[in-house]
């Protein structure tokens, strides 16, 4: 007997349309779908771990308030990353001169696992520290390529640049990070 077809999840477009029609459950589903990735993006961009919950909530709240301006040509997650990036910039401006990244704030849980896992965790932390030294545009281009898998065309639209410039920013970021983590 053939298995029943798995119900397909509604697309972001469908959920946004449902939200615009007044369906509050659609908002919950969008948060479930995108909040963890936004948290990761914010953390990778230098947000303090303790503040991630508030930053993600503010990002999603701002997004829902401006959903009419999402034209749908760029992916919703890409648009959300833009809002998150601008929010982080606003927060950094408010804290002028104060350190955003805490030296004790890191992703890796303390563990006594194999050495290669420890080395991998340390490498990731060095990369994160290196990302914070990059100019914002280079960092965002790099994270969008690596975390979101965005093509240069989409990155260019999201960040208001050209695909060629986005490619250059990416390679500049790679070169700089290679020097920092060597």
């Amino acid at each position: 007997m053939p298995l029943p077809a798995e119900p397909t999840s509604p697309s972001d477009h469908d959920l946004v349309a449902a939200w615009r029609s007044g369906d509050e459950r659609a908002a919950a589903r969008l948060v479930e779908r995108h909040a963890p990735a936004i948290a990761r993006f914010l953390y990778s961009s230098g947000a303090v771990r303790d503040e991630l919950d508030d930053l993600v909530q503010e990002t999603m709240f701002r997004a829902f308030r401006r959903l009419d301006s999402w034209r749908g040509d760029a992916g919703l997650r890409s648009w959300l990353f833009s809002i998150a990036g601008n929010l982080l910039k606003d927060e950094a401006r408010k804290r002028k001169g104060r350190t955003v990244l805490s030296l004790a704030d890191h992703d890796a849980p303390s563990h006594t696992g194999p050495d290669h896992e420890l080395e991998a965790d340390e490498a990731r932390e060095r990369i994160r520290a290196g990302l914070l030294t990059l100019p914002r545009l280079q960092r965002e281009v790099f994270l969008r390529r690596v975390q979101l898998g965005e093509a240069y065309d989409a990155i260019a639209v999201a960040l208001g640049t050209t695909p060629g410039a986005a490619r250059v920013h990416y390679h500049q970021a790679v070169k700089r990070l290679k020097e920092l983590v060597r």
């Binding site: 908002a27 948060v31 909040a35 963890p36 953390y43 771990r49 993600v56 709240f61 992703d107 290679k178």
Partner: protein
């Protein structure tokens, strides 16, 4: 070293590192022999892992609750389905009253006439009633009881409607 395969590898590293694609045999062979590409490959593989723990451990239910609650508190009145329906009915009622009421005055007050179209008015709170009032056209909201527009005040469309109502 082939410039073309070097650039192709660099462009494909993020998607291969994320598991969305695989190296083909020529790319695998190039990686084995190119220290610069291997260094970049190691970097990209590690970079893909940055923040994975944060994403994995993120408290999604708490975020859903907080965002939903905040949206509920700040949802604009005009986005509430019930209010949208009532505003639509109010606008329709206003148009009907302005253009279809007979020239001879009737004892029925505009507000009472509107109320016959909008039995749900009692269920609205102050904010919602204010929004509704703003949606009602000025001729309904401001025309005092008993005033009738002179025929010379009506435009051609309104005059046509008056004629039709008189002629049947």
């Amino acid at each position: 070293m082939s410039g073309t395969i070097h650039e192709m590898l660099q462009d494909r590293m993020p998607e291969v590192a994320r598991g969305s694609a695989d190296w083909d045999p020529s790319e695998t062979a190039h990686l084995a022999g190119c220290a610069e590409c291997r260094a970049e490959w190691d970097l990209i593989r590690a970079a893909v892992g940055v923040g994975e723990g944060v994403e994995r451990e993120f408290d999604v239910p708490a975020s859903v609750r907080a965002v939903s609650e905040r949206l509920r508190r700040h949802r604009p009145l005009h986005r509430r389905p019930a209010v949208r329906t009532l505003v639509g009915l109010a606008a329709a009622a206003a148009i009907a009253i302005v253009f279809l009421r007979p020239v001879v005055p009737t004892p029925t007050a505009p507000a009472a006439t509107a109320a016959r179209f909008l039995p749900e008015l009692d269920s609205l709170n102050v904010e919602e009633l204010t929004l509704l009032a703003e949606a009602i056209e000025p001729p309904l909201a401001e025309t005092p009881l008993g005033d009738d527009p002179a025929l010379t005040d009506l435009d051609s469309t309104q005059l046509t409607r008056v004629l039709r109502s008189l002629e049947g």
